[in-house]
Amino acid sequence: MPVIKFIEFDGTEHEVDADAGMSVMEVAMKYDVPGIDADCGGGAVCGTCHCFVEESAGPLPAVDPQEESMLGLRPDREGNSRLSCQLQVSDSIGDMTVKLPEFQM
């Protein structure tokens, strides 16, 4: 079972066992990790589950055009920005370290 370490903007860490098949967003919601709003519930159409993937054991899937469109409007976008609803927990990605932004909008 992969382990995801969430790091809030203020540095607070949450390390959780993630169920394969859930998205990183759903894992954060399940364990009440603050900092992800996920207004649209996982459709990559609101941009409020933005996160920064600091590390992952395996490679991440590519950013698709819809995710790119939404990330493009985030004022705090970085090279490792992702929408956490678009990252499915899997053995091939494995453990991850995910930083959360200062705000979602």
């Binding site: 207004d39 649209c40 941009g47 469109s69 939404m70 493009g72 409007l73």
Partner: protein, 417 residues
């Protein structure tokens, strides 16, 4: 409190669908739109109407279909306009809500910082102070208009702050907001003619052009929308393109005004219609943030947005042609039981309360959504501190409008603790 006498409107359940005007503003004025949209979701979720005051158009009424259309910005374009009616080509102002990528992104990014949550934290204490003052000034033991003294008053102050607009004439912002959304083709003939509307648009442009020139190049530390445009290299010359400048101004004036104002009024109506929910939030004010999302869903202050088909396609088995208008009925999506259980009920702590359609989806999702939520949250936090009851004494008067869902008058009485 919800229902005024209905006019003679065709029965939405027995009249053949092709004889019904989905865009009839009267159904919104008399708040009897729900059965027709429920029927459309069930019988004809992608529905073509050949004739209306705004010409032929498609209606999309299911939640999931609206999300699909909003994701597909290449086929469902936001250009040339997101209104159901087309302006004459020579009067076509350009606003970023009615632009596709990449131009949309560039212009939206310039003004977006004004509503970034970081900036909002600084606004919150100011909003709380003004809200408290407005609520303290309300008369007790007599009937007053909540729309005028609370909703309109507070949203006008906020909009003036966002523009750093001259305080003594700030009422103009709300008047302008009402005027630019008022079109006789969207209001069963009650709105302005295009000539009258043009006169107001020219006044807005004149005032804001003066403000632009007064501010350009100054060193004032301010996050107002005018200076944000001036200081972003992509929009620094916006004033030289009046059709683009006026377009974005109208967008920001309407976006920051009508929507929040009408949700502020809607909350009073819903808490009166669902007194058990009123009792719950009075007993537990930690429910306010969730209640705010539910108010926005239940009100859905803009009933729809429009897209325009860029090439012939088949969508859900229907053949759409390039140039066809597609109306995304957010009000219907927010009553879609397949996504929102018991959607006709106002439930302040429903699960997935943030997952509603009122802000739209995709790249055009409401830019000011966090500001709107904060304003509404502060109003209810401050109101519930002061008032043991906010009682509606007569049914509200609703707008006869098929785009802006709102109220012109809501007589209430308050009881202080």
């Amino acid at each position: 409190m919800n229902h005024r006498a209905e006019p003679m409107l065709a029965d939405p359940l027995t009249t053949p669908l092709e004889e019904l005007d989905v865009s009839d503003p009267k159904r919104f004025e008399y708040d009897c739109w729900q059965p027709l949209f429920k029927r459309l979701r069930e019988e004809s979720p992608v529905h073509f109407q050949a004739e209306s005051p705004a010409g032929p158009f498609w209606s999309i009424t299911r939640f999931d279909d609206i999300v699909e259309v909003e994701k597909n910005t290449e086929i469902f374009s936001s250009e040339p306009t997101i209104a159901i009616v087309d302006p004459p080509p020579e009067r076509r102002s350009r606003m970023f809500i009615a632009m596709d990528q990449p131009e949309h992104d560039v212009q939206r990014r310039a003004v977006q910082p004004v509503v970034a949550p970081k900036n909002l934290q600084e606004f919150e204490s100011l909003i709380r102070k003004r809200t408290g003052e407005a609520l303290d000034a309300l008369p007790e033991g007599e009937t007053f208009d909540w729309v005028e003294l609370v909703s309109r008053n507070l949203t006008t102050q906020m909009l003036a702050t966002l523009f750093d607009f001259p305080w003594d004439i700030r009422h103009k912002l709300s008047d302008w907001s009402d005027a630019v959304t008022s079109d006789e083709r969207m209001t069963a003939g009650q709105g302005l003619t295009q000539e009258d509307r043009l006169e107001i648009v020219m006044e807005i442009l004149e005032v804001f052009t003066r403000l632009w020139h007064e501010r350009v190049g100054d060193d004032v530390e301010s996050f107002d929308l005018i200076r944000l445009m001036q200081r972003d290299q992509n929009t620094a010359n916006m004033v030289d393109d009046p059709m683009n400048y006026i377009g974005n101004l109208m967008l920001l004036i309407v976006g920051g005004n009508d929507t929040t104002r009408n949700s502020m009024s809607g909350g009073v109506l819903f808490l009166n219609d669902f007194p058990e929910e009123f009792a719950r939030v009075k007993a537990d004010r930690s429910l306010i943030p969730s209640m705010v999302s539910e108010i926005i869903r239940f009100q859905t202050p803009l009933s729809h947005m429009r897209r325009t088909v860029t090439r012939d396609i088949e969508f859900r088995g229907q053949h759409m042609k390039a140039g066809d208008k597609v109306i995304l009925w957010y009000c219907s999506a927010n009553r879609d039981e397949s996504v929102i259980p018991e959607a006709e009920m106002f439930q302040i702590d429903r699960s997935g309360v943030r997952n509603h359609a009122a802000f739209g989806f995709g790249i055009h999702r409401c830019m000011g959504n966090r500001l709107a939520e904060m304003q509404l949250r502060v109003v209810w936090e401050e109101a519930l501190k002061r008032f043991s009851d906010i009682r509606m004494v007569e049914p509200p008067t609703r707008l006869c409008h098929n785009f802006v869902r709102g109220f012109s008058r809501m007589p209430v009485q308050v009881t202080r603790y």
